[in-house]
Amino acid sequence: MMRKIFAAGTLLAVSAMPAAHAGATLDAVKAKGFVQCGVSTGLPGFSAANDKGQWAGLDVDVCRAVAAAVFGDASKVKFTPLTAKERFTALQSGEIDMLSRNTTWTLTRDTNLGLNFAGVNYYDGQGFMVHKSLGVKSAKELDGAAICIQAGTTTELNLADYFRSNGMKYQAITYDTSDESVKGFEAGRCDVLTSDQSQLYALRIKLKNPGSAVVLPEVISKEPLGPVVRNGDEDWLKVVRWSLFAMINAEEMGVTSKNVDEMRKTTKDPGKQRLLGLSGIKGQGLKLSDDWSYNIIKQVGNYSEAFEHNVGMGSPLKIARGLNALWSKGGIQYAPPIR
């Protein structure tokens, strides 16, 4: 009774959590006409707002891909900037439809939080950046170093584990945000800056003289980052998962946003035909229109395009593909086939 009164009293401001049965999210998303996507409040290359207030980045492109698949329009997505602390609550409570915010796929998160990881859009790992002048070549030489960290993730634990297992000592200066940690590093407060490797490259650009620092080769943890959805809604999970896979498959087949129209008209390749929804199961299995994957490639691009444009050589970050190269090119990005 009291609950009812309370709920009625706060009706204006309250959004009830959508029931998490299969298809509910997809239907709800279609009904409201846009995807509500949780992103980072700011992470160079992954999600950041440009001066026109448009969000851009590798994580953002996953959201846009989903919107393109569902609506045929990559712009039908709204972004909710989230901090690390809030991200899971926001997803659990239905505030957002999907979370695309450099979230590491771990057992605990997959099982205990009522969440489902839809795939991996970036294989990352914790690394170290040092001042070049120290002449350090390997993380093993870092005994006694002062290390700048950004608080609030598993970074601190990985670091402690690594130094303990190698019998080394360190001094950790834990800042609230990445911006402060890189400034601390630049000001010489610490010898080493540790973060996910993708971030180290981004943080390096923030230095007045980016050439004065080097990223060490060691990677001390596995950080597969990917989009997340709520548990118990298979249909929605599959839409998000295959939106990502479509981008990777497109790269593998050499279909880009530039040549996709041409391909669609001319291709005789059965694989490409299936990818572009010209034959095979098309959009039926995902309860989407047949041109869902075409829309993704046309409007967002394939994985390689998104990567290069946001974090790769076409961006200020200039991160090498590394682990994120296709399986066929020495990396581990591998998407199940569309057939």
Binding site: V14, T41, T83, S93, E95
Partner: protein, 372 residues
């Protein structure tokens, strides 16, 4: 003899009566205020040196050597401040991610608010009580619909797109306005003769005043969802506002209590003797006087809250400082944080300085008003 003098010269203009040059004009002023003795002179020189030490490099960096033109980072070459970054992002810092074609709604709200404040503060405009009621009850609703849209053909703008200085102002204004009634109730409760009511009020006030706002914001963002029934979830902005309002109410309660204490006992007695009930006594006699007394205190509280809104960045709301920080994550503009922070500092300073000036002027006015 003196009569003769007065005949020759108008009163006070006799050449012998003029003050010596060392007492008037620039020199006299300097002697009096800067070099009255050797210690004073030393202090003056020290002061001048300090000014030189601080302001010359500052002006050099911020103005002389700064870059203003252009719209990419390539335009920043001189080594001074790169104001291009602020220029390019200016709208975002002001409006957050509010759609550009809807900026007029934010502006309209701000103008509306400014008009209400003018009405409330300029002594010549009548009907203050009407203005008070409008500001407290009508304006917030109007502002909510104007900014949020979804009615009267206004397109909807979700609260996640509100940001920048707009959000800072919303947080501070709503925080104060909504906390006001609660603060008054608490202040009355603290002065109540009912022991349980008094104890609860004291406990509430001391509890909230005893903890830092940062933990309150933590609580509202992380714990509030746990307090509510399953499936009920507030909008993020509202969650933060609830925390700020509950927190702020305790500060307002203490300010109002000060005002209530300053009302002489005779006012209560006269109201009683006229047969006014408790509620009428408070609403008609005591509160109007007390609230007038506490306006400077309220402005100061507002000032504090305004600065404290910078803390909402820890719960992912993009207020002025947070949106500047977010802009610093744009890979095209990495590394211009000093310009961003200086800009934030300047904006905050202008607002807070203005408010503290106003509150002090008001205090002085109330002070003289009382002597009458």
């Amino acid at each position: 003899m003196s009569e003769m003098m007065q005949e020759k010269y108008a009163p006070g203009t006799h050449p012998d009566w003029e003050p010596p040059a060392t007492e008037v004009g620039v020199i006299g002023w300097m002697r009096e205020n800067l070099f009255s003795n050797w210690r004073n002179s030393a202090l003056t020189l020290l002061g001048v040196y300090l000014v030189y030490l601080i302001f010359v490099p500052l002006i050099d960096w911020a103005i002389v050597n700064a870059d203003w033109a252009g719209d990419t980072r390539d335009a920043c070459t001189s080594g001074g401040a790169c104001w291009v970054f602020v220029k390019v992002r200016f709208n975002q810092f002001m409006y957050g991610f509010y759609p550009a074609e809807e900026y007029w709604r934010v502006n309209a709200t701000a103008v509306l608010f400014a008009l209400m404040i003018l009405w409330l503060t300029v002594p010549r405009i009548p009907l203050k009580r009407v203005a008070g009621v409008l500001t407290l009850f009508v304006f917030p609703i109007a502002a909510y619909f104007l900014l949020g849209g979804g009615v009267f053909g206004l397109s909807e703008v979700e609260t996640t797109r509100w940001g920048g200085l707009t959000l800072t102002l919303i947080l501070a204004v709503v925080g104060i306005v909504a906390a006001f009634p609660l603060g008054i109730i608490l202040a009355l409760g603290r002065r109540s003769e009912m022991p349980i009511v008094r104890a609860l009020s004291v406990a509430y006030i001391e509890l909230w005043r005893g903890v830092p706002l940062i933990t309150v914001l933590f609580m509202s963002s992380v714990m509030l969802p746990l307090f509510l029934p399953e499936g009920v979830n507030f909008d993020k902005l509202l969650r933060a506002l609830i925390g700020i309002i509950l927190f702020q109410a305790s500060y307002i309660a203490e300010v109002v209590r000060g005002g209530l204490q300053a009302i002489p006992k005779g006012q209560y007695e006269a109201a009683d003797a006229l047969g006014l009930s408790y509620g009428k006594k408070m609403v008609l006699i005591i509160l109007p006087q007390a609230l007038k007394l506490v306006i400077p205190g309220i402005v100061n509280t507002f000032n504090e809250l305004f600065k404290d809104t910078t803390l909402v960045l820890i719960i992912g709301l993009l207020d002025l400082l947070a949106i500047i920080k977010a802009a610093l994550e744009d890979s095209n503009w990495l590394g211009y944080s000093i310009e961003g922070y200086v800009f934030a500092g300047a904006v905050f300073w202008i607002f807070c300085f203005g408010m503290s000036r106003y509150s002090r002027a008001l205090e002085r006015k109330l002070h003289t008003g009382h002597k009458r």
